[in-house]
């Protein structure tokens, strides 16, 4: 071993590992303190509505097919269920949209006809058709991660907007504007 070894490591080589470590700390701190994003949005915006054919949710009612939603006029597709409390909260807003002339269809997820009938009696029925997605498969095909969610489908059957969560009174104007814009 040489006692007169004078090769001193360059200063940048000494500080580099510490700088990298501090960089990782800063990155972790920023990411940890950012509030977590819990909603999972569908990635199907501006893509065609996946094809599906659902039976009617109530006995004797017509089913809901994806082709029913490509009628040339924009429609709203509401994913809901009788066991969903926020769905009751948004019922007046859905009624408001239906009264404004927006056609609304519904898909009931993991529901039962008798419970759905009670729900519609209590909260009103703004839907033109309701399809029964008892297995929850169509919900998955749409990229929907919960209820309630409302999709805006344009006249050609493309998904143009997804509203996650209940439609509150302050959301109605925006939704109406989107429907008109897509016309």
């Amino acid at each position: 071993m040489s006692m007169t070894d004078t090769t001193k490591p360059r200063s940048w080589a000494i500080w580099l590992p510490l700088a990298l470590f501090l960089g990782v700390i800063v990155l972790a701190a920023v990411a940890l303190f950012r509030p977590a994003e819990r909603t999972v949005a569908s990635t199907l915006i501006d893509r065609p509505l996946p094809s599906f054919a659902l039976p009617g949710s109530l006995p004797g009612t017509p089913g809901l097919n994806s082709v029913d939603l490509a009628t040339g006029k924009p429609r709203l597709l509401n994913i809901f269920a009788s066991w969903c409390i926020p769905c009751q909260v948004e019922a007046p807003q859905l009624a408001q949209l239906a009264a404004a002339g927006v056609p609304i269809d519904g898909i009931s997820v993991r529901d039962r006809p008798e419970l759905l009938a009670v729900f519609l009696k209590q909260n009103g029925n703004p839907f033109q058709r309701i399809g029964a997605d008892d297995a929850g498969k169509v919900q998955l095909a749409l990229g929907s991660s919960g209820v309630p969610e409302t999709y805006l489908i344009d006249g050609k059957g493309r998904i143009r907007h997804q509203h996650i969560g209940e439609i509150r009174p302050e959301h109605v104007a925006d939704l109406l504007a989107r429907v008109r814009a897509v016309q």
């Binding site: 999972v40 199907l44 009788s82 066991w83 008892d134």
Partner: protein
């Protein structure tokens, strides 16, 4: 005995989400090999409701629907990675616990190798001196 009778006629105070009625939400596939492939895929897919759990672990009804989807497709012969891609196509990367190598994530995979290379470069003289001694 009376309790059991009362429990049968009790009406729930608020509507509760029921268990998934999808055919394979709680039922395993008959073919053990296919069930094993389904299980390993389910362990690596995130429950959309209880987002800290995989769909194999989660009690959420939507997880039941996702499990049934996985099992039915595997029973039909579909590849697990195709099912994963189908879900990622609709929900984004968050639904899968296994990160893919994409334009966005390749630095994550390359970084350990780059750091090892940097360490080797910084220590290059140590090895040379030891060899020459």
């Amino acid at each position: 005995m009376l309790c059991a009778a009362l429990a049968m006629i009790a009406v729930p105070a608020a509507a509760q989400e029921m268990e998934s009625t999808a055919p394979y939400a709680y039922r395993q596939l008959d073919d053990a090999q296919k069930e094993a492939r389904a299980q390993s895929l389910m362990q690596s897919l995130r429950c959309l409701q209880c987002q800290g759990q995989s769909i194999a672990d989660s009690d959420a009804p939507i997880a039941g629907s996702m499990r049934s989807l996985v099992r039915e497709r595997i029973a039909a012969g579909e590849e697990p990675e195709a099912i994963r891609s189908w879900l990622i196509e609709r929900y984004g990367d968050y639904v899968s616990y296994a990160p893919r190598v994409t334009k966005l994530t390749w630095p994550l995979f390359v970084l350990p190798l780059a750091l090892l290379a940097l360490a080797g470069f910084l220590l290059r003289n140590r090895f040379r001196r030891a060899g020459a001694a």
